[in-house]
């Protein structure tokens, strides 16, 4: 327990502190970008894109090894991941456009195919003599522990950029998510704004890959805004709330993962986020389980008082 407290207070060593701060930034940015994806009803796209990073990631490793004799070049790995995720995103668009297939069909197909291809490549790499040290598995479930200071700084800078772009385009993204037809008719191009949202998501995935892992990256985007939605009916409050939930999840999750042996960072963050969500589900005003039950009980009492004999349910 002391170890957890120490990690939370950034007092468990330099590396752990760096990773914890990096994860908090990532969580905050995920909450903001995720809020718009949630309201645009495109969160599942995150799952397709994050799984679609795998073949690019492994291919980049192979390229690095073939060309420079060293596969573990973070920049190259992330560029490969981004490229194959972008390809996955384009594949989703191409499958949906004009072919009368629903987007969830396209998303599921892209996810399965890309992840399958990535897994084949990964098992090939693991069969190589040097494969055992490749360390690519950490991109599956995330591992903030080995994060270098420069990497954490990169995450923080990119996360801050994501926040900035999101805030600059607050009104445009709100319009896109609420009424794209009205927006389009008055000169706010829905297709380009959607592309921009996709770009923000891609950037988020690339910086988040090492920390949360591609398997659970979805949670970073969907759970904080879903939690925030429980607490408020205003987008202006939902955004900061989602960012706070995300940052708290990142902070707590990374600290837990640093303090407890053999707990990968991604699942730790997801569990913390889920805990916050469940707390909201129970306690949130208006939408929480407690609030709804209280309201119904009050209503029933008012009815009993007004209509004698209404306590008995109708047969």
């Amino acid at each position: 327990m002391d170890a957890v407290v120490q990690a939370l207070l950034l007092d468990a060593g330099y590396n752990s502190a760096v990773a914890t701060v990096g994860a908090a930034f990532l969580g905050g940015a995920g909450g903001l970008v995720g809020t718009f994806l949630l309201l645009r009803r495109r969160v599942m796209l995150t799952d397709a894109l994050s799984h679609a990073t795998l073949p690019g990631l492994v291919a980049a490793f192979l390229v690095g090894q073939a060309v420079w004799g060293e596969g573990r070049l973070l920049g190259l790995l992330l560029a490969g991941a981004a490229a194959s995720a972008a390809l996955g995103g384009l594949a989703v668009q191409a499958i949906v456009a004009g072919r009368r297939l629903a987007e969830d069909t396209a998303i599921a197909s892209v996810l399965a195919v890309f992840y399958g291809a990535g897994t084949v490549l990964l098992s090939h790499v693991q069969g190589l003599p040097t494969g055992g040290q490749a360390g690519l598995e950490r991109f599956l479930l995330g591992s903030a522990a080995g994060m270098l200071r420069q990497e954490a700084e990169l995450v923080a800078v990119l996360a801050a950029l994501l926040v900035l772009v999101t805030l600059l385009l607050l009104k445009e993204l709100r319009l896109l998510c609420f009424d794209p037809g009205f927006g389009e008719a008055h000169g706010w191009p829905a297709a380009r704004l959607d592309l921009l949202l996709l770009g923000l998501l891609l950037a988020l995935l690339v910086i988040g890959l090492q920390i949360v892992g591609l398997v659970l990256a979805l949670a970073l985007v969907v759970v904080p805004p879903a939690s925030a939605r429980l607490w408020t009916d205003r987008l202006g409050r939902m955004l900061p709330l989602a960012a706070c939930f995300g940052a708290a999840g990142g902070w707590l999750g990374a600290a837990l993962s640093a303090a407890l042996p053999r707990l990968p960072t991604g699942p730790a963050i997801v569990l913390v986020l889920a805990g916050l969500f469940v707390a909201g589900l129970v306690l949130a005003p208006k939408r929480g389980i407690v609030a709804v039950a209280l309201r119904r009980a009050r209503l029933a009492r008012a009815l009993h008082a007004a209509v004698p004999g209404s306590e008995r349910p109708a047969p």
């Binding site: 445009e172 609420f178 009205f182 000169g187």
Partner: protein, 268 residues
Amino acid sequence: MAPPLQLVEGGAGLRHRLDPESPLAVSGLSVAYHDRPVLWNVDFVAPHSGLVAILGPNGAGKSTFLKAVLGLVPPLAGEVRFFGRPLDRRSGLVAYVPQRSSVDWEFPITALEVVAMGLYHRIGWFRPVRRRHLEAARAQLDRVGLADLADRQVGQLSGGQQQRVFLARALAQDARLYLLDEPLAGIDAASERVVIGLLRELAAAGRTVIAVHHDLESVADVFDRAMLLNVRRIAEGPVAEVLAAGNLARAYGGAVPLGGPVAAASAG
């Protein structure tokens, strides 16, 4: 500067040339969804002020007509001019009110914030919505009688109130031409009075209002002119002429929903 207008079949092609500055002049507009035609060679010229109804049975292409002139669905062919020019969406000359059912009313947004969207084109890219914009939006919300509900989440409003919020958003745009998709569908009587009153006010102020309308019985009470569509343009002109029995039979086939007021209108 103005490209040459093609002369197409029917009278609108001619009027097109006679009235090059019409708020909305459409010639030969054709649209298909996949391989099914929804609009076929439609001509239309809007008056410089007044209320025009777009009528026709379900699937006749009424909503598609509005979306196609705005470029929201790609046309197969045809020419569209607003005030003699191709559409400049950010000019603020044209306001569009989509169907109420086209958006998710559970969205975390207040009535006031929706109305403020009518000012976005004036605010411009990247700039925030400021207090003075919200005050301007509040004034429009007051015009539709909903100032008290400004801070309500839109899902808590009735259907009619939601429609009035949409209308307030269009009013905030202060446009010259208003294109409304079913503004009177499924709304309560009080909201209907408010909406019709404001549409008349716009027409009296020299604006043109074109609205998709579903209810043949009330057309004559609200609109000056109408276009009757069923994929092709069946008729266009003053409401009474358009609602002549022959036109309705052509648009609706055997099942003409002829009520008393329609018969009266077509007789008058």
